[in-house]
């Protein structure tokens, strides 16, 4: 039935048969079915080249590319998290060490203390000449046997060797008085460490207390409850200190009182002027302006203010010291021999020689031997360990 002149009859054959040929037929088993259509974004020339190159890469390597990528990511994270900050910190430290405008520590008038020798020069006759040597030993802390053993080890000979101790020869260990006797016997040089300092202050405090006057009445306050030992005790630590004090003879205490905070050894080849202190010094601050408490206690230095600190949170003081010495003319250079920092242990650098290697806790006792040419060697003995 025609409608408006069109044939509306249903076709007699399926519609598909009307398509001229089957060129549109796609077989999904054919590899071409899965091939990506070339969008011609890369020039066929280039494409061919990439193909050639990638063909040359062994399959095995191609297969591991994920692993390599993973390693690369790890490296990147590692850099970001660890090496990068470390490098920038190092750069910042260098920049801060170079910056001189901030030098502020040591402008004040150095605090003066009663009964404290600040600086002393070592007798010139002890300077290493010919076969003479200087033997510097780190914190002994009453370990007399170890000290004797070490001296035997280095073939110490009173006749031509001079012994230098870096302080803290007393307290903690078994025989503090014995170490002082030994030092006296050998005519050793020694500096005042924080333990000698505390001991001497405690002795002064006690003797002052004993000398205190009675009150205006007959009631003698020395015997009253005001000034008895108990009420004056500052805890267990103070008790240990007073017990230690009783081991020494009056003459030994006098010897300890004479120990300087800084010992100046004259110039020695290769080392420059040698200084012995217990803990450390701040570079470029005149010796006369260094705070004695800091010289006996410092571990680090805040580079922003050049203020030293007992804490470990800033830059190691010896880092700054070495950095500054390298810039100086050879005649201006100074080398510091010190102890105090058992945790960092033996720490030998060009211009700083750290000798505390934790003997009293079972570490080593360290000796630095300086010969007449300024050459240094280190000898150690193992220690028994007397405290936890």
């Amino acid at each position: 039935m025609p409608y408006r002149g069109l044939d509306t009859r249903l076709p007699t054959r399926p519609l598909v048969d009307f398509i001229p040929d089957d060129s549109l037929h796609v077989d999904d088993e054919d590899a071409a079915f899965y091939a990506k259509d070339d969008d011609y974004l890369i020039h066929p020339h280039w494409k061919a080249m990439i193909q050639r190159i990638s063909n040359r890469i062994p399959r095995r390597i191609k297969r591991y590319s994920f692993v390599y990528l993973g390693l690369l990511v790890l490296l990147f994270i590692g850099w970001k998290m660890h090496f990068g900050p470390k490098l920038s910190l190092h750069r910042q430290e260098i920049a801060e060490m170079e910056d001189t405008s901030k030098a502020a520590y040591g402008i004040n008038v150095r605090p003066h203390f009663k009964d404290m020798v600040y600086i002393k020069s070592m007798d010139e006759k002890h300077l290493p000449k010919g076969n003479k040597r200087l033997i510097a030993v780190g914190d002994v802390h009453g370990c007399k046997e170890e000290l004797e053993q070490l001296l035997k080890e280095v073939e110490f000979n009173e006749a031509h060797d001079h012994l230098i101790l870096t302080g803290d020869i007393v307290a903690k260990g078994p025989d503090s008085a014995g170490v002082v006797s030994l030092a006296q016997k050998y005519g050793a040089s020694c500096v005042r460490g924080n333990h000698e300092d505390k001991l001497l202050l405690s002795i002064a405090e006690t003797s002052e207390r004993k000398a205190s006057l009675p009150g205006p009445t007959d009631n003698d306050p020395k015997n009253s409850d005001f000034l008895d030992e108990e009420s004056h005790s500052h805890g267990a630590d103070d008790y240990t200190l007073r017990k230690l004090a009783k081991q020494f003879s009056a003459e030994q205490i006098t010897w300890l009182k004479e120990l300087p905070v800084i010992l100046k050894v004259e110039r020695i080849p290769l080392m420059g002027e040698v200084l012995v202190v217990h803990a450390g010094l701040v570079a470029d601050v005149p010796l006369d302006q260094q705070d004695p408490f800091q010289v006996m206690n410092m571990r680090t230095i805040d580079l922003k203010t050049r203020m030293p600190s007992e804490e470990r949170k800033f830059t190691e003081w010896e880092k700054y010291w070495n950095h500054q010495q390298k810039k100086k003319a050879e005649t201006e250079r100074q080398t510091v021999i010190y102890g105090h920092d058992a945790k960092r242990g033996k720490n030998i650098k060009k211009f700083t020689k750290g000798l505390d290697s934790n003997c009293v806790r079972g570490g080593h006792l360290t000796a630095l031997i300086i010969d007449s040419e300024g050459k240094t060697t280190v000898t150690q003995v193992k220690c028994t360990g007397y405290v936890e």
Binding site: A104, Y105, I107, N108, V109, P111, H112, F113, K114, D115, K198, L201, S202, A204, E205, E208, A211, S212, L213, G215, P216, T217, P221, F226, L227, S231, H232, H234, G235, A236, D237, D238, L241, D291, F293, Q294, D302, T305, R306, M307, S309, E310
Partner: protein, 286 residues
């Protein structure tokens, strides 16, 4: 320049026996100092809270209104403060009472062993046994010193022949509680000519604290706390030319309280530290 003190122990002992109670009058008020003060009338603040022992002056907080009626100018205040410290240290030294510096005074000592010129109070501490001793034997004692006051510092009526200083103990010093807010100062050393005074506080052991690696806990009634290892053993030094004690770890205490900058900054409060003079100088002066 300061003669060894020739002190007159006043017979005011009966007053120290009076216990603080609601109806008792101030222990030693203005009327009791007739003949010892140049003040014609009392300049003590009258509306202080009940139970407060030491009263400041009406015109300023760092003066005693029983002995002064005006504040001092910059230069005379420095001179009198210096005499105040020197006489105090002299007296404590003679009495064998160890006394040490804290706070602002410790800063001044660190820089050049002197009072910071802009500081108008002096902070000293003593131990509990020392305070017990002073309270028992030396409360309300007056010390006479000959003090030479340079003419530029002296007022018309300031007498260079002799000055009296009063050691007054707060009877509430025995109260160990920091809740006793109105009596945080345990004693005062008072210049009876200018009304300037030194606040003396007792460093107390915290009885409830354990012995630690840092020693024992200590505190003052002004709520400052310390570890015994950083205060003791004390060091002997000098302050304004007189023997004084300072805490063992003075640098650490200063850093804890004020930060490192307190030991390195050379400009404070309109002054700068002149390295050549070794003095703090007012900005603008050479």
């Amino acid at each position: 320049m300061l003669l060894p003190f020739t002190f007159a122990v006043f017979t005011l002992q009966y007053l120290t026996l009076a216990l603080p109670s609601d109806f008792s009058k101030r222990h030693v008020d203005f009327s009791e100092f007739q003949g010892l003060t140049k003040n014609a009338r009392d300049r003590t603040r009258q509306n202080d809270p009940a139970g407060k022992y030491f009263h400041e002056a009406t015109f300023a907080t760092h003066y005693d209104g029983r002995f002064a009626s005006t504040k001092l100018a910059y230069t005379p205040r420095r001179t009198h403060l210096r005499s105040l410290v020197r006489t105090y240290l002299d007296t404590m030294h003679s009495l064998h009472i160890p006394t040490w510096l804290m706070h602002g005074s410790l800063i001044g000592w660190y820089w050049n062993g002197k009072i910071l010129p802009w500081d108008d109070d002096i902070d000293v501490q003593i131990s509990e046994p020392s305070m017990a001793f002073l309270a028992a034997y030396y409360n309300m004692t007056v010390y006479h010193f000959t003090v030479k006051i340079p003419p530029e510092a002296a007022g018309d009526e300031l007498d260079e022949a002799g000055r009296d200083y009063l050691l007054e103990i707060n009877p509430n010093w025995t109260n160990n509680s920091t809740l006793d807010l109105h009596n945080v100062i345990d004693a005062r050393w008072i210049d009876m000519t200018t009304g300037l005074f030194i606040d003396i506080t007792t460093l107390r052991y915290n009885q409830s604290s354990e012995d630690t690696a840092e020693g024992q806990k200590l505190f003052c009634k002004d709520k400052h706390t310390y570890m015994s290892k950083s205060v003791f053993p004390l060091r002997e030094s000098e302050y304004e030319g007189k023997p004084v004690k300072v805490p063992y770890s003075y640098a650490e205490l200063l850093e804890e309280e004020y930060g490192k900058k307190v030991m390195t900054r050379t400009r404070w409060e309109g002054h700068y530290f002149n390295e050549e003079l070794r003095e703090w100088v007012i900005d603008g002066l050479p």
